[in-house]
């Protein structure tokens, strides 16, 4: 009984770590560029797939993939920003959403075309195999690693954005990009870097997810909808809000899976409806 609860809560914590990583990237991109990156799930999938392909074809292991895959996906992100998103600046934000939706279809369709529908396993790296028996729950070492690392990444992102000069520019750009430009900051370059970084964060989450979930072309599309709901619940106003909401929703999902499994897939959307009723701007958000 206790073991079942903690087992599900642990799973929820893992899922929540991914929600946090992904909604963090979405929030950073949206904050500066005013773009809802619909391709975020596809880019997460790309990260996982690049890691898998690297291992399969080139023998590149997990530790290298953890850096190389996000770098590669980040570069494609920089290209996307330069080629497409830049030209949509100043238009209704809906066009950014539609563009990235199209890009998501292209990416997912291409991977589906090349690798089919079935999932591919990715081995847990040797250094993180095994686990600890904590008495009330068995904790695989890799999952502990995922929670630890995503916690660290979230903290570093929060620190950089809220406590450094670079972050101050980013926040200033979110508030008023014209004024920032008038101060001599290269705002277009910041846009490119921000999108590249947000996308790399998604790919990083993808590599982390590869040993836990099956690597498949559609692993991102169902996830992104939950992450969108997380973003609506938390509001995109604050970085901390995105992180806390992500982990929180993961835990709630885990608990629901223990109480009544069929409801686990919809509970996040029910919470979204409740939040809309009580606090339309989201738990941490401001209406704008």
């Amino acid at each position: 009984m206790i073991q079942a609860i903690f087992g599900q809560l642990l799973l929820g914590l893992i899922n929540g770590s991914f929600y946090a990583l992904l909604s963090l990237g979405l929030a950073i991109i949206f904050g500066l560029l005013d773009v809802v990156n619909f391709a975020h799930g596809a880019q997460y999938m790309m990260g996982a797939f690049l890691a898998w392909m690297g291992l399969q074809y080139l023998g590149v292991g997990y530790w290298w993939a953890l850096f190389l895959a996000p770098a590669a996906v980040g570069l494609t992100g920089i290209l996307i920003e330069r080629l497409f998103l830049r030209r949509l600046q100043g238009l209704d934000p809906l066009y950014g959403l539609l563009l990235t939706f199209g890009l998501a279809l292209i990416i997912e369709g291409a991977f589906h075309r090349a690798y089919g529908n079935s999932g591919n396993g990715y081995p847990v790296p040797a250094a993180l195999a095994g686990g600890f028996d904590l008495g009330f729950v068995y904790l695989p070492r890799y999952r502990a690693w995922v929670v630890l690392v995503s916690g660290m990444v979230c903290f570093v992102s929060w620190f950089v954005i809220e406590r450094t000069r670079l972050g101050a520019y980013l926040r200033a750009g979110t508030e008023n990009r014209r004024l920032l430009q008038a101060f001599g900051i290269n705002v277009p370059l910041m846009f490119t870097i921000t999108y590249g970084f947000g996308v790399a964060l998604a790919a990083f989450a993808g590599v982390m997810a590869a040993p836990i979930y099956q690597v498949s072309p559609h692993m991102g599309s169902s996830l992104i909808m939950v992450v969108f709901a997380v973003v609506v619940i938390g509001g995109m106003g604050s970085i901390m809000g995105a992180i806390v909401t992500g982990v929180g929703i993961g835990l709630v999902e885990g608990f629901t899976k223990f109480l009544y499994p069929p409801a686990a897939s919809v509970v996040v959307f029910v919470i979204m409806a409740l939040v809309l009723l009580v606090r339309p701007a989201g738990l941490f958000g401001r209406l704008r």
Binding site: P93, Y95, L98, L99, F101, L105, G109, M225, M272
Partner: protein, 311 residues
């Protein structure tokens, strides 16, 4: 609006629609033509919201799909005639629209899109899990029944039935757009604070537009289920919501005929590319990118702009 109807180009547009519509089943496979009509209605209903209120719903498959299932269940399991089964589907879609709309309209812009997407996922999961929907198999063998003594199992009879319903619904949408109600919707799209300051209850107008759009999308779903004689998860899945966005964008959002043109183009494309399998997804995505980058007005919008420029 003072020009008499018969002097306006619109009447010639309707005449062309009638001629093409009557002749269509003799030129193309009737089931395909019916499917196109259903999707054209779906896209037109969706456009009422996107094109005239400026609200992008990413969850319209929920209305299409729920009505398809309800109509299918009413006709098959309960043995109800189409005259009851179709309104039942429409009513359920409208009710869903009322609930979703009331909640989602508390936010606007991109949040609205994400919220509707989330709610549509709930409908999807419900359809997957509820016992009466047939799960992964969907509802198979939905009977078309009879309408005014006409046996709808005949594909020509069914075609003209679907076509008649489409014409009525299309006319309703057109009238709605041109009505004072439609003018207010456009005013809200252009400048919401101004519409508020003029004394319009903006929230009520938006909600009414949302419910109307949901109901008409439901009507399209009901027709689709009867046409194809099945309802499947493909009708409620999020890709279907994306498809209707594409149809509207391709044809031209905010134009009366654009969505129908878009539906015809997308359905034709899918029909001819069906053998290519997953390439269809890639091509669909590419069309999205091209439309957003270069042809935001859509086919009809671009043609109209071209005509305006050359005269």
């Amino acid at each position: 609006m003072t020009t008499p109807l018969w002097k306006r180009p619109v009447i010639w547009g309707y005449a062309a629609l009638v001629v093409v519509g009557v002749a269509a089943p003799f030129m193309v496979y009737p089931v395909f033509a019916m499917n196109v009509l259903a999707m054209a209605l779906f896209a037109s209903a969706f456009n009422l919201l996107l094109g005239y209120v400026g609200l992008l719903s990413f969850g319209h498959a929920a209305f299409l799909g729920s009505a398809a299932y309800v109509t299918g269940y009413a006709a098959k399991a309960l043995g109800l005639p189409v005259i009851v089964a179709i309104p039942a589907g429409v009513a359920v879609a409208a009710l869903l629209g009322l609930v979703f709309g009331a909640l989602a309209l508390r936010r606007s812009g991109i949040y609205f899109a994400m919220i509707t997407l989330g709610f549509a996922q709930v409908v999807y999961f419900l359809v997957v899990q509820m016992p009466w929907t047939g799960g992964e198999d969907g509802l198979q063998g939905i009977p078309r029944g009879r309408f005014l003594g006409l046996d709808l199992s005949d594909k020509f009879a069914m075609y003209y039935f679907v076509y008649g319903v489409f014409l009525l619904a299309f006319f309703l949408i057109h009238r709605t757009i041109d009505s004072p109600f439609g003018q207010v919707l456009r005013a809200i799209r252009e400048n919401e604070p101004r519409a508020v300051s003029l004394g319009y209850d903006v929230e009520r107008y938006k909600l009414l537009a949302f419910v109307l759009s949901a109901a008409l999308a439901g009507l399209a779903g009901a027709l689709k289920a009867l046409t194809l004689e099945f309802a499947t998860l493909g009708d409620v899945i999020w890709q279907r919501s994306g498809e209707v966005v594409l149809m509207t964008l391709l044809g031209g959002m905010g134009t009366v005929v654009g969505p129908s043109v878009g539906a015809l183009l997308v359905m034709t494309l899918e029909h001819y590319l069906a053998s290519l399998g997953s390439w269809v997804t890639v091509i669909t995505g590419a069309v999205f990118v091209v439309m957003v980058m270069a042809f935001r007005r859509g086919v009809v919008g671009e043609v109209r702009a071209l005509i305006k420029r050359s005269f």
